[in-house]
Symmetry: C2
Subunit: 329 residues, 2 copies
């Protein structure tokens, strides 16, 4: 059987209260008593039951995190940001995904509802939003990381999609490009509208192609543009995966980058350093967003009221060879 605090107490010849005190270094305990208790703990291999601790203390010291998928290229950084912050505060992190349709949602519901955690960080909720709203109303602290939609009812962390698009446009304009193509993500996403709006506010264009954030959509878009004889001197893709497809299709068609066409992506995922040529892109502060969301949640748990408006973390243009600075000669 599992060894409990009672076993330790008996073996050490003290009360459970005293054992609890030395474990939590709370209250005065005689030095030699404490030493003896610690010895017994080590000898018996005692570890407290977090369930019991949480129950007695009224808090689990655990936060939950709900993500749509763990294999998205920027998810690792985001997760690392959350985990680091949470662990530094001596909290645990309970991870959930909801990428399997209705079944996952149901499972999430039952698991999440078990209230194994004190608060929740959610990344781009899709079909779970209704449920989240309900949980939030019932008192569960929630922080969102979501560029795709606007959710004024939740505290959230976002990045500067509009300005990010604008920075890409300024960079291309300053390099002398005048005929840009924009390849977007799915148009119902808020970030997609913002990125496009920011871009065209600086560098207007009628060459806006609807994509879907896949490598294939970048490839297809370029192939069709070339086939139709459309003239363009640059591409702004709404994410790096799409930009990778753009690079590939251009190369296949014998176009040079950046000579014939300059290419700018969005995200700065790890791959983007290694494309050919390396990709100029609008960096999302992914890890920082994770850290910030976690910190907001933790301080909310600590009693600080959550900010009323979304916390905005700036994007940053990372210039590499696919769209170098200045005019290409």
């Amino acid at each position: 059987m599992r060894v409990t605090i009672a076993d330790v107490a008996r073996e050490a010849g003290v009360s459970k209260t005293t054992v609890s005190r030395v474990i939590n270094t709370k209250g005065e305990v005689d030095g030699s008593t404490a030493a003896r208790v610690r010895e017994v703990i080590a000898q018996l291999g005692y570890v407290p039951s977090s369930g019991a601790v949480g129950l007695a203390r009224g808090s689990s010291r655990t936060v939950g995190m709900l993500v749509p998928s763990l294999t998205w290229p920027w998810m690792g950084e985001l997760l690392q940001g959350v985990v680091d912050t949470v662990e530094a505060a001596d909290y645990g992190l309970l991870l959930f995904t909801c990428n399997r349709g209705a079944e996952s949602v149901e499972r999430f519901t039952s698991q999440v509802s078990a209230r194994a955690f004190d608060g929740l960080v959610v990344v781009e909720p899709e079909n779970t939003l209704d449920h989240l709203t309900e949980l939030h109303r019932d008192g569960l602290p929630i922080v969102l990381i979501d560029d795709r939609g606007h959710h004024p009812e939740f505290p959230s962390v976002v990045t500067t999609n509009h300005e990010g698009g604008a920075s890409a446009a300024r960079h291309l304009r300053d390099a002398g490009r005048t005929r840009p193509v924009v390849i977007t993500g799915p148009e119902h996403f808020g970030c997609v509208r913002d990125r496009t709006a920011g871009f065209v506010s600086v560098l207007p264009t009628d060459l806006v192609v609807l994509g879907d954030f896949t490598e294939r959509s970048g490839r297809l878009a370029v192939e069709q543009l070339l086939a139709s004889g459309t003239e363009f001197d640059s591409v702004f893709a709404h994410n790096d995966i799409t930009a990778a497809g753009v690079l590939r299709a251009l190369r296949a068609a014998g176009k040079t980058v950046p000579g014939d066409i300059a290419v700018v992506g969005f995200d700065d995922i790890p791959m983007s350093e290694h494309t050919e040529p390396p990709l100029t892109t609008v960096r999302q502060p992914t890890r920082q967003m994770g850290e910030t969301a976690a910190r907001m949640l933790l301080s909310h748990l600590g009693g600080t009221p959550a900010p009323e408006t979304p916390v905005v973390l700036p994007t940053e243009l990372v210039v590499r060879h696919s769209a170098p600075p200045g005019r290409v000669t």
Copy 2:
């Protein structure tokens, strides 16, 4: 205050026992009684406390996972495999990292020791091995996913590193390559020794360069080989990141791939499809390894004894353009 099972019982005019029964659909409950209870639950927004449930039931229905880093390129797949399996079994997943040296280990110790979970999946334990051994001896079920070391005392999941290396060599040999270079990872890793051994067992070579799994190490190795005038017609890199560096250095030096030099990597991370040219590589069944490890842990928790010997999942050669099949003409 939080609403408890007692509140529900009072409001519904039944006992806590009855409420518990309808929640867990256990034992006979009158239909109309159950309906009323469910109504009250919904109305009050009641959610059970998992801490209390776990305490009463003697199990947390949660497994832990300890990883060195979340940003490694194949970690997403692995994690997804574990999470999917764990969630399908209605367990929760508590995530820990230990990438911050002694401090993390200590934190991990205290958190892990809190026994918030019934079992643990560990990916490449580094400095935590002693502690894990102790926990394991004290009765915590643990499953390892670790190619780097051999740990006969733990149940584990591994892949076929030796055969993977051999398959790369066979592929190059069959394509007529006779002067391969091997760029390894750090030599104290078991997987590194196995990959090299497998490779040279098929295609012996004295051109084995010590690398460290970074893109830079691939680049430097190629630059030095070229500078020294060493002749070679192919490269087997111990991971895809290194192979990406190899491709880059070759291109910079004006060598064609696969014309002058064929390149084979190891891992098949998402990036490898998008390198120039797309990378031929030895695929690790990363997601499957995660699934398998989780399944082993869960069935162990269910009472099935863990397998005595490591469970081996086969690698698979993925042929792309950096090393196409057959002889290059």
